[in-house]
Amino acid sequence: MTKTIEVPGVGTLPVIERKGDTDLFGFDSEKPDEGTAFSTGYIPRDLKEQPYGSIEYATPFDLPSPSRSDWPELVRAYNAGGASPAHHFINSGKECSNQNGLPYCWIHGSVQNLMVVRMMQGLPYVYLEPTSAGAIIKRFAQRGGNTPEAIKHLAEHGVCEGSLWPPNKLDRDLVTDEMKENSKKYRITEWFELRNNSFEQTVASLLYGYPVTVGFSWWGHMVLAVGLAVMDDGSIGIIMLNSWGPKWGFRGLAVLNEKMGTSFDQFALRVGTYSVVA
């Protein structure tokens, strides 16, 4: 039985406290029609090759982090006010993406970040197909990756609407002039790079309203951090949005405690382009 926690304005979310939470990690392994279990694809970056602060299009997160002793009060006010990206996602009534077997979590976590920020900006909902960027970055191979690769492509080329690229399709013929022009409307312009393994910066970023694409070495998976929860013991957990379809967790959402939710690679999105017209 998976433990749950009630997050005001979001719902009753399952809690991941250890990797053995099989109700969540065994998801759909017996039901391939609902997606493929353990399709992840996160490759932690080598800090010797790409040290903190060296990522193009991402500036180091230099905003103050609230004191830990203030977190519970701040998080309760934040959730009571419906202020988290998770509240915007739930209110939108939209579904999370589903990488469905491709090792493309890194691009799903990044593109879902753009979709959630667009919701927060009040823009009409447009489903953006992560594979339209991931396939080009990986030359149509099924290979894992990381957010820095996604950031450069999303800043320079963008990601196209789902109407121009079927879900999870790896097909070179889909790269057309129309698709390229469409992608330019959906670019990401302002990223923050958070310190590796800094849970304090993850919490601060979310409190300021910036969703964070987070990579977990223990899971080999990147997801999107969209909110915060006060746990039963008064500690703070993060609300994550997965890319395994809406049947996983609560509409794709679950809560990670600090131990599980401390992220090695983490990038927050502040502003996406405001394009409305398809």
């Binding site: 304005g9 006010g81 202020a83 900006q121 302002e190 300021y208 502040r270």
Partner: protein
């Protein structure tokens, strides 16, 4: 005081009362225009999103939260929250409003309605309740 002077004074007081209370019309403070060139009710929040940490918690939570956009949606309106320096692909009516008001001091709320005509530009209210109370004055 002559009767004519009294009449003028009463007339001016009535005008002032209508301007403040609405009298079936929209409160106009300041200007009384539909500040965003789009039909109907519209609300624009202009903020520097990299400086939210400098705002009081309740005001910050209101700016990033769901209550204001929900109120706008329930009343059939349109909502945008934008950074003034990141408007490259912002559609024209909103971009023009950002250009016009971004120097007024941020965070800013711009309320606009073309039916009935009215509008407001001012500092973003201190919390959700104050923001909704303000917007309620510009919807039917």
């Amino acid at each position: 005081m002559t009767n004519a002077t009294k009449f003028k004074l009463l007339f001016l007081m009535a005008i002032a009362w209508l301007a403040v209370r609405g009298g079936g019309a929209i409160i106009v403070d300041p200007g009384g225009e539909a500040y965003i060139d789009t039909d109907g009710f519209a609300v624009l929040v202009i903020e520097e999103s990299s400086e939210r940490h400098k705002l009081p918690v309740e005001q910050k939570n209101s700016i990033i939260g769901t209550a204001v956009p929900q109120f706008v949606a329930i009343n059939g309106g349109k909502f945008r929250r934008v950074d003034p320096t990141e408007t490259e692909t912002l559609d024209d009516p909103w971009a023009s409003a950002v250009d016009e008001f971004e120097d007024e001091g941020l965070p800013l709320i711009v309320i606009s309605n073309t039916d009935p005509v009215g509008g407001y530009v001012g500092e973003y209210p201190e919390n959700d309740a104050a923001a909704i109370e303000l917007m309620e004055q510009y919807v039917d």
